[in-house]
């Protein structure tokens, strides 16, 4: 690559250098600032609304419906949406609305645990690679390369095949395939932030490496990680649904949306509602997370804006 001659910096005009209008003594943390930005972002608010909506649904599931998500009722098989069954019934005569409502718990849980798992392991490896460099970096980066060269869904399928199909194992598989994504992000963030002048400044004050890492490098890498984690929620939910669709995720009668889709596939002609609602729910939740993620990205990282 070319060697770029250093260019003298003039403070750039533009929004990022703009001081917010504030009273003299008020202290505005970058997080607060981001929060303000977020509040102005309509899409992000809609996303937030969707997610809060689903969280509420998940929490209050038992109060929202008088049906059980697993008791079958052969007499009322494949009923269309009606006042009695808002979203209709499935081939076992179970109320789809009830199953969707309980399914929200599963999807949100999957997103949460898969992302948390991937985040913890990915960050750990990413920090190791980014901070120690050399062969540690080499080794970890190659492992990430290899993992990323696999089509992720295949890898997930293989992992579930080893562990056996269950919601918990699907979750583990999704966490594993997402580890390199977080790992790489954290690594590149750690490396790029290590180049920042304030890190040099911290070193110049005689700060120890560990302190630099935990007080300066990590807090500053947080923004993109938070964004990725939010978006990762959506991805994880989609992946879990895909595994469920292939029969490798949650086991019956768990009302997992992907699983509901695959179970009702064959009724798409005769009872399209059985397919419509679970898919719509997946899409909405994922959309919600993506909207928040986009909003957070804009709010947290002005340079990534748009």
């Amino acid at each position: 690559m070319e060697s770029v001659t250093p260019v003298k910096k003039q403070p750039m005009p533009g929004p990022e250098n703009q001081e917010p209008h504030l009273t003299e003594t008020e202290s505005i943390s970058p997080w607060k600032e981001a929060f303000w930005q977020l509040r102005k972002n309509k899409l992000a608010l809609v996303g937030l609304f969707i997610i809060i909506f689903f969280i509420m649904i998940a929490i209050f599931a038992p109060f929202l419906t008088s049906y059980s998500y697993q008791t079958l009722n052969a007499a009322d098989r494949l009923q269309g949406p009606s006042a009695q069954y808002w979203f209709g019934t499935d081939d076992l005569g179970r109320d789809i609305f009830t199953r969707i409502v309980y399914g929200a718990r599963i999807s949100l849980m999957v997103g949460f645990f898969a992302v948390t798992g991937a985040l913890i392991f990915g960050s750990f490896l990413g920090i190791l690679a980014g901070y120690f460099g050399r062969w540690v970096d080499m080794l970890i980066s190659r492992i990430f390369d290899i993992m990323l060269a696999f089509p992720s869904i295949l890898l997930a399928i293989a992992i579930v095949a080893i562990l056996g199909p269950s919601l918990q194992n699907a979750l583990i598989a999704i966490a594993i395939i997402n580890v390199p994504i977080f790992g790489r992000l954290v690594r590149s963030k750690v490396i790029s932030i290590r180049q920042e002048e304030y890190i040099m400044a911290a070193k110049a004050q005689g700060m120890k490496n560990g302190r630099i890492l935990f007080h300066h490098v990590l807090p500053n890498s947080l923004a993109p990680i938070i964004v990725q984690a939010t978006l990762g929620f959506g991805t994880a939910i989609l992946e879990a649904a895909a595994l469920g669709f292939l029969g490798l995720g949650a086991q019956p009668p768990t009302p997992e949306w992907g699983r509901m889709l695959s179970d009702s596939r064959q009724y798409i002609q005769s009872a399209p509602w059985t397919v419509l609602f679970p898919g719509l729910s997946i899409m909405l939740v994922v959309l919600g997370f993506n909207m928040i993620g986009d909003g957070l990205r804009d709010a947290l990282d002005p340079k990534m804006k748009n």
Partner: protein, 344 residues
């Protein structure tokens, strides 16, 4: 007397951001006469670039918009003088003018050239847009212009990419592009700020030469009073979106009237003598729009009195061609008749 080729009258360019309306350029009037070099100086963020972009019709929209004033471009056409208002003229016509009769060079030579196209292509692009020439002729023009701006090995450099050139060379290429259609006005937005002093000297030298030899009028934007002294015939000093003082270069540098101009000049460390302590203007440059009423310099001004905080001072004509925006001179100078200016 020379005629103005470009006349900016009461230009107002505002940015509409989510933090509110920012009057980046607030009622700016300047004229550029044929063949002269007009300097526009001011500190960062005072609206120099936005003024020049307004002339070119390149203010990023959104969020920017010209909300008032006019920009008159005059040219001789078959003995007839023709005047067009660039603010209201059709987009298509504007594209015909810019790059052809009014050209512009920018501050950052490192980023102002498209890295993916050869130098030659980027010059030819400008030539072909405005002149009916064959490919071969265009290429020859490109080479000629490169020679004009003093690029060695012009024949080879035409086919090279920007990254193969140093900053100084790139700025020369930028000038070559700007000069490719022999414009009447060249707007140079801090053309040397990013360059080293030795390279800056080369570029300033070149621009002077172009001004002298081709008679191109130059609007030279800079924050360096040294460059102004070196290059310009007349200067306008801007502060927070307004022109605070304007006049010929000697007057402004030797006998500035506005407290801001005075402070600015006094605060510069001098090469020729060594003073113990520098003069300094207290406080910070205000963000545009943050001061709504009164003189924008008042909070930093050592001479400020109550009125300065309450009223907006008007531009006063002190002497022939020397104007200043300050209440201190109300008795000395006459109020510049703005309408008369606009009508001329």
């Amino acid at each position: 007397m020379k005629k103005p080729v470009l006349e900016i009258n009461h230009l107002k360019t505002h940015f509409f951001t989510d933090r509110g309306e920012i009057p980046a350029v607030d009622d700016v009037s300047v004229k550029i006469y044929e063949g002269e070099v007009l300097g526009i100086v001011g500190e960062s963020g005072c609206g120099k670039s936005v003024t020049s972009l307004s002339v070119m019709g390149l203010v990023p929209d959104p969020p920017g918009k010209i909300v008032g004033g006019e920009i008159l471009f005059r040219q001789q056409e078959g003995g007839q003088e023709r005047s067009e208002n660039l603010v209201t003229v059709k987009k298509k016509r504007l594209r015909q003018i810019r790059g052809n009769q009014i050209a512009m060079i920018f501050q950052e030579p490192m980023t102002s050239l498209d890295p993916l196209f050869t130098i030659g292509y980027q010059i030819i692009e400008a030539v072909k847009k405005h002149k009916k020439v064959t490919k071969k002729e265009a290429r020859q023009i490109a080479i000629d212009k490169l020679i004009l701006v003093g690029i060695p090995r012009a024949e080879e450099i035409v086919d090279e990419y920007p990254h193969q050139l140093s900053g100084g060379m790139r700025q020369r290429v930028m000038i070559a592009i700007a000069m490719s259609c022999d414009p009447e006005v060249l707007i140079a937005d801090e053309p040397t700020t990013a360059l080293d002093v030795t390279i800056q000297a080369q570029i300033l030298d070149l621009m002077k030469k172009l001004n002298k030899e081709n008679g191109t009028a130059i609007m030279m934007i800079t924050h360096d009073l040294g460059v102004v002294a070196e290059m310009c015939d007349r200067v306008a000093v801007m502060y927070a979106g307004k022109v605070v003082e304007e006049g010929d270069v000697r007057t402004i540098l030797k006998d500035p009237k506005h407290p801001y101009t005075q402070g600015l000049i006094r605060s510069l460390p001098k090469m020729n003598k060594r003073e113990e302590r520098l003069y300094s203007i207290p406080g910070n440059v205000p963000k545009p729009g943050s001061i709504k009423i009164g003189c924008r310099f008042a909070p930093r001004c050592s001479e400020a009195f109550n009125r300065c905080y309450e009223e907006n001072p008007d531009l006063l004509e002190l002497r022939d061609g020397h104007t200043c925006r300050c209440f201190l001179y109300e008795k000395e100078g006459d109020l510049v008749n703005a309408d008369a200016l606009a009508g001329s």
